[in-house]
């Protein structure tokens, strides 16, 4: 089970012939062996990753020829929105977009385009997905994770690695790790993943790592209060961030009263989430909560 991707996923990489695309496609193939091809318009018929996988001109073709149902996008920002829509149009089920720097106006169009499609978009500007031992669809370092029963949802890349590292140190593995991205418009929100992890029989607890800006964590916390029975352990990065200053991620800026870390943490606690003040407490708290529910 796990969520979104597993050992049966058939992964293609859009932008596989680019420097980043080919490097990470190689890493994903090496990790679980389920990368089945790539797409670069104009390079159809060639092969990539030292001849290990075929390259197609279109996603449609890749879906037809090798049965792709998951795509990983490394296309440069000016062309990334187009790449996402191409994948959705071809009926790809899970679209993971790593590309950072896509104009917001392009993403409003993508968001609208996806509304009547069955595809699920993860990202953009995210580290992607990792179901330990089964599928790596993104740039998370596979070796830090371990197969297990904790679901991880995070807005941030390296902070996800930190959380995963702490879990492993506590002897806890992960069902799936999902980096949702820090842009103002993203395909999959925390609330969607809470629902998926709640319904996943292989997940016992959920780590939810947010940051300042937006209202996604609050929306997710309110949902969790009524719909999630598994323990949710939360952290919000940016308790020390001054209002009005954008902290790296395009979405990480406190522009309203309820977008600060303190406000989010308070509401998450009210909703019954186990919120830690320190990023060093994530692993320990998950372990403690699992002991309570066991």
């Amino acid at each position: 089970m796990a969520i979104l991707v597993n050992k049966d996923s058939k992964i293609i990489v859009q932008g596989i012939t680019g420097t980043e695309g080919s490097f990470h496609a190689g890493q994903c193939l090496e990790y679980a062996g389920n990368v089945v091809g790539g797409v670069t318009p104009g390079k159809g018929g060639q092969t990539a990753l030292d001849g290990k996988v075929p390259v197609f001109n279109t996603v449609q073709e890749a879906r037809k020829e090798v049965g792709a149902n998951v795509t990983l996008i490394f296309v440069p920002p000016p062309f990334a929105a187009d790449a996402i829509m191409e994948a959705a149009d071809a009926g790809i089920e899970v679209i993971v977009c790593i590309t950072e720097g896509i104009p917001v106006d392009d993403m409003t169009k993508v968001f609208d385009f996806l509304k009547d499609k069955d595809s699920r978009l993860i990202g953009p500007n995210c580290p992607g997905l990792l179901t330990p031992d089964e599928a790596k669809v993104g740039i998370m370092p596979g070796f830090i994770a371990k197969k297990g029963r904790v679901g991880v949802i995070s807005k941030s890349g390296t902070l996800t690695y930190e959380a995963v590292h702490q879990l492993v140190k506590e002897g806890l593995g992960q069902s799936t790790c999902v980096g949702i991205g820090g842009d103002p418009i993203i395909g999959t929100k925390m609330i969607d993943l809470l629902e998926m992890f709640e319904n996943d029989s292989e997940t016992d607890a959920i780590v939810m790592i947010g940051e300042i800006g937006g209202a996604m964590e609050i929306e997710a916390a309110r949902y969790a209060k009524d719909h999630v029975t598994k323990p949710v352990i939360g952290f919000i990065a940016g308790q020390t961030a001054p209002p009005g200053r954008r902290m790296g991620h395009a979405g990480a800026i406190v522009s309203g009263a309820d977008e600060s870390a303190a406000a989010k943490m308070a509401i998450m606690r009210e909703c019954g989430l186990h919120v830690v003040d320190s990023p060093a407490e994530i692993g320990k708290t998950v372990k403690a909560q699992l002991a309570v529910t066991a």
């Binding site: 896509i102 070796f143 390296t158 990065a237 308790q239 990480a252």
Partner: protein, 391 residues
């Protein structure tokens, strides 16, 4: 990316939006000619002298002055040009006023608020309008949220005439003003989309005694991701309005924001950088900065990072927290060793490296002979750096 009022008004004018017009002045010697031009072109015998800085709240800070005649306009220009203007949005020391916009004076019958921005929840642009013009919109949102009309625009289809009418009627406008406001809203939306703005705010939008509808002030912020296709907008950047250290950092692809504390930090990834700042504070220290070295941390980025952190004289200790995914810790370690040797550091440096090649990196650091304090978890690192900063 933000721009000045005079630049914003130029853009609005290009889109056929009526503005309170004026002349840009950057030296007192040009004031007379500017006043002549305003009298002639806009038939105005009264003037408004407006400081051109990016921060809001200029009026309250004394940077905007109504001037009933030429003499007072000159006096006000003298007072404002070159002043250090402090508002709730500037840095505490204030911002030097390098340019003035001297404008025609307008007989205001009523003020409104009009803005367009992205609504993250719906993924659509939203037009916000209010009869409470001239006020801080945050205040209106808090006290009288029902007074803000919101209209969402479907991407691809764009703004429709009925929506502009709804907004204008909603503001209580009628007759010629209703028509003029509806047109203005449509033009403003077109402008917002075509310039890849992330926010445009007209506050206030005014109806004049003569019945006209015009933009008295305008603020833009642009989507930095889209600047590659907005060459004309990019040219409007004014680096004098930005923190010089942050500008310098961005040249080295470093994302730096100066804060008030004394513990410098260098981290890869925005989320972990914020988390590191948070744990420094929890351990009793105060972070001196946010610094994300990004995914390409190598010898040069580490060196430049050190230089930028240490340009802040408040810094008493530095914490380097790198979780290597794509970034290889051994490369970062080499960067640290080289930088520490070359820069002759006078403050203690605590290093925590985890992830790809962390073991090799730890060995490199241990055998390098450079004086660094090794830490083996984020908690250990924060405790050690706070102790070092307060020692």
């Amino acid at each position: 990316m933000k721009i000045h009022e005079y630049q914003a008004k130029k853009i609005l004018k290009k889109y056929g939006i009526t503005i309170q017009d004026g002349v840009l002045v950057d030296s007192l010697g040009d004031v007379d000619a500017a006043l002549d031009q305003i009298e002639k072109e806009f038939s105005s015998k009264q003037f408004v002298v407006k400081a051109q800085i990016h921060a809001g709240g200029r009026g309250l800070g004394g940077g905007v002055k109504f001037s009933p005649d030429r003499e007072s306009a000159k006096k006000n220009a003298e007072a404002i040009l070159g002043m250090t203007l402090k508002t709730h949005q500037t840095v505490p020391e204030g911002q030097l006023v390098r340019k003035l916009m001297i404008t025609e004076a307008v007989d205001i019958a009523k003020e409104y608020y009009l803005a367009i921005t992205l609504d993250r929840e719906t993924g659509q642009n939203v037009i916000m309008a209010s009869t409470e013009g001239g006020m801080e919109i945050e205040e209106v949102a808090e006290k009288n949220p029902e007074k803000i009309l919101k209209t969402w625009i479907k991407p691809g289809i764009g703004i429709q005439a009925f929506q502009t009418r709804q907004i204008a009627f909603g503001l209580g406008l009628e007759g010629e003003q209703l028509k003029a406001a509806s047109k203005l809203i449509a033009k403003l939306y077109k402008c917002f989309v075509e310039t890849d703005a992330s926010i445009v705010e007209v506050n206030p939008l005014v109806v004049t005694d003569q019945g006209g509808v015009l933009a008295l002030d305008a603020k833009f912020n642009f989507d930095t991701n889209a600047l590659y296709r907005q060459k004309e907008i990019l040219e409007l950047r004014d680096v004098y309005e930005e923190d010089p250290t942050e500008v310098e950092a961005s040249k080295s692809n470093l994302n730096y924001i100066k804060l008030d504390g004394n513990v410098g930090c260098m981290v890869n990834g925005a989320g972990l950088a914020m988390g590191t700042m948070d744990i420094i504070k929890l351990k009793g220290g105060e972070p001196a900065n946010f610094l994300d070295v990004g995914g390409g941390a190598n010898v040069d980025t580490v060196k430049n990072g050190f230089k930028i952190i240490l340009s802040d004289k408040n810094v008493k200790a530095v914490l380097i927290n790198i979780f290597g995914g794509i970034v290889r810790c051994d490369r970062v370690a080499n960067g640290i060793i080289e930088a520490v040797k070359e820069l002759d550091l006078s403050v203690p440096v605590v290093v925590r490296l985890e992830g790809t090649n962390a073991d090799v990196a730890k060995e490199l650091l241990a055998n390098s002979g450079v004086a660094i304090i090794a830490a083996d978890s984020i908690e250990d690192a924060a405790e050690k750096v706070v102790a070092a900063a307060t020692a």
